[in-house]
């Protein structure tokens, strides 16, 4: 049972109050995009075994989307941050590196 702190309202929400939304920081591809870029946008996922950046919504709560950095192998949560971020903020990356010194950084 995941428990994530919603950065929008501060509640320690448990999984039954949340809705998961898959990988974070995926750039939308519009009508001008190539077939390959569009396919990647819709389908191709990093699906890492390890540090993962993902989207959640505090669905039974403030209703806001937010991002979480979490390890998919241990379910450790490095932190949550706002959904209005194009990439993980530095403080999150620092924290992850502290916990996972040999982490190579976010997958390209």
């Amino acid at each position: 049972m995941l428990i994530l702190t919603c950065p929008c309202c501060g509640a320690e929400a448990d999984e039954t109050e949340l809705a998961s939304g898959g990988e974070a920081h995926i750039q939308r591809q519009g009508p001008e995009s190539t077939d390959a870029a569009f396919e990647a946008y819709l389908f191709q996922r990093k699906n890492p075994s390890g540090v993962h950046f993902e989207r959640w919504r505090h669905a039974f709560g403030c209703g806001k989307w937010f991002h979480a950095a979490r390890c998919t192998r241990t379910l450790e949560v490095f932190g949550t941050y706002t959904a209005q971020s194009l990439k993980p903020p530095k403080w999150i990356l620092d924290r992850i590196r502290k916990r996972r010194p040999d982490w190579a950084g976010p997958l390209p």
């Binding site: 049972m1 995941l2 999984e15 039954t16 809705a19 998961s20 898959g22 990988e23 077939d35 390959a36 396919e39 990647a40 819709l42 389908f43 191709q44 996922r45 990093k46 699906n47 890492p48 075994s49 993962h52 993902e54 979490r70 998919t72 192998r73 241990t74 379910l75 997958l107």
Partner: protein
């Protein structure tokens, strides 16, 4: 290889069972094979088996990071059916189902295929329409299914409460030749047959990197050293994304935990497999007497082989409502497997951007039933380098073209 039979057992009984051979050898990896299969789950082993049986290729290593059959093949709810809506799915699942019918004899290993019948309950008008549609599609596809009324459901499985106030049972999609099989035996039977054909099953051997020259695969690195190959088959279910990353490409796949549980064993109380998709739960009773129960997948990426309790709760709640008598039975054990969910929830049997590297994945929550058919089709793909008719619709290219094989349209989930 010593044949299994009642006679052999009787003979061994007098020899204190001392005469049995190993079911499979545990060799050291050779430096090079013609084919390497990564993953000794049902699909990997079946692929190797049919490569040998149908295509005469036996210089094969099957590399398994833990113990063979310990992935999803060893932790699924064993439902076998082929009542799928889309032509492509119906074809490959029906092929698998029909191979299951004779699998024990083919492998000389009793996999206990039990064609006891699968009923998928229709509990809303929408579901009734969907299942009627599926039944009609199946009739054309040559899959024997039928839409039956609630009295028939009750007759087949008296412990179902067909008059539930919220979701009465309005009927069911009934596949009389669907059923279950003994999950471990499927893996063990294939493993024994592969080993007997001279293939090397190497356990405790995790693939850690894929070697390539130019755009072509040349082998793998493992926790037990490097092994070369001419062709590589990646058949690792929940770990497909990890292996794809090693091979330098990305998949339309996400790995999530799917949970199951068993009750304590009790005397027979249900003879068929029942799936209730509206309320999200399914159940059958194993030969040993425990109720085998499954539900929906957890929603987030997970590699831990354990899930959250509230999913168990939701599943059990649904089943207690559907089968009120189970309320006083008890959950004995729960567990999870890591399943690979694709963008359209249908599997992938495909060439990859890496030459001579093939992938079989995306069976998600429902690939146990497909094992023989998938192995058959994957073997053909790997032997010929091009997909045969069973595999052709399941290529990776479909995601680029938008050519989905969407099974969720008629029913809810797919197990």
């Amino acid at each position: 290889m010593k044949r299994y039979s009642a006679f052999a057992i009787a003979k061994e009984a007098f020899r204190h069972q001392l005469g049995w051979e190993r079911a499979w050898r545990s060799p050291e990896p050779k430096p090079e094979y013609e084919v390497i299969i990564v993953g000794a789950g049902g699909h990997g082993l079946a692929t190797a088996y049919y490569l040998g049986k149908n295509h005469g290729i036996t210089n094969i290593a099957i590399l398994e990071k833990n113990w063979l059959g310990g992935g999803n093949t060893g932790r699924n709810t064993t439902i076998i059916r082929s009542n799928y809506l889309q032509d492509a799915s119906a074809a490959i699942y029906e092929k698998a189902r029909s191979l299951y019918e004779t699998l024990s004899q083919d492998l000389n290993y009793n996999v206990m295929f039990s064609p006891r019948g699968v009923a998928m309950l229709a509990q809303t008008h929408h579901e009734v329409r969907g299942y009627r549609r599926t039944a009609r599609a199946n009739a054309i596809q040559g899959v024997e299914t039928e839409f039956i009324g609630s009295e028939q459901v009750k007759a087949l499985c008296p412990i179902i409460n067909v008059d539930g106030p919220r979701f009465p049972v309005l009927g069911a999609l009934w596949q009389p030749r669907g059923g279950t099989a003994r999950h471990d035996a499927v893996a063990w039977g294939y493993a024994r047959a592969c080993s007997d054909m001279g293939m090397d099953i190497i356990q405790n051997c995790a693939v850690t990197a894929v070697r390539r020259t130019g755009g072509t695969v040349t082998g793998v690195e493992t926790t037990r050293g490097a092994v070369g190959c001419r062709k590589l088959g990646i058949v690792v279910a929940g770990h497909s994304g990890v292996l794809a990353a090693m091979a330098g490409f990305r998949l339309p796949v996400e790995s999530v935990a799917l949970q199951a549980l068993v009750s304590e064993p009790v005397k027979p109380c249900m003879d068929i497999v029942v799936m209730a998709n509206t309320v999200h739960g399914y159940m059958s009773q194993s030969d040993k007497g425990e109720l085998v129960i499954g539900g929906g997948a957890d929603g987030f990426n997970n590699y831990t082989q354990r899930g959250s309790f509230h999913h168990v709760e939701e599943t059990v709640r649904a089943l207690v409502e559907t089968f009120p008598i189970i309320s006083r039975l008890r959950m004995l054990r729960q567990w999870a497997g890591i399943v690979d969910m694709t963008g359209d929830r249908s599997p992938i049997l495909s060439k990859t951007p890496l030459e001579n590297c093939f992938i079989n994945c995306g069976w998600g929550t429902g690939g146990f039933k497909a094992i023989p058919g998938s192995g058959w089709a994957m073997a053909e793909l790997m032997a010929k380098g091009e997909p045969g008719p069973l595999a052709a619709p399941f290529g990776l290219d479909r995601f680029r073209e938008g050519r989905f094989i969407d099974e969720s349209v008629a029913a809810g989930v797919a197990h």
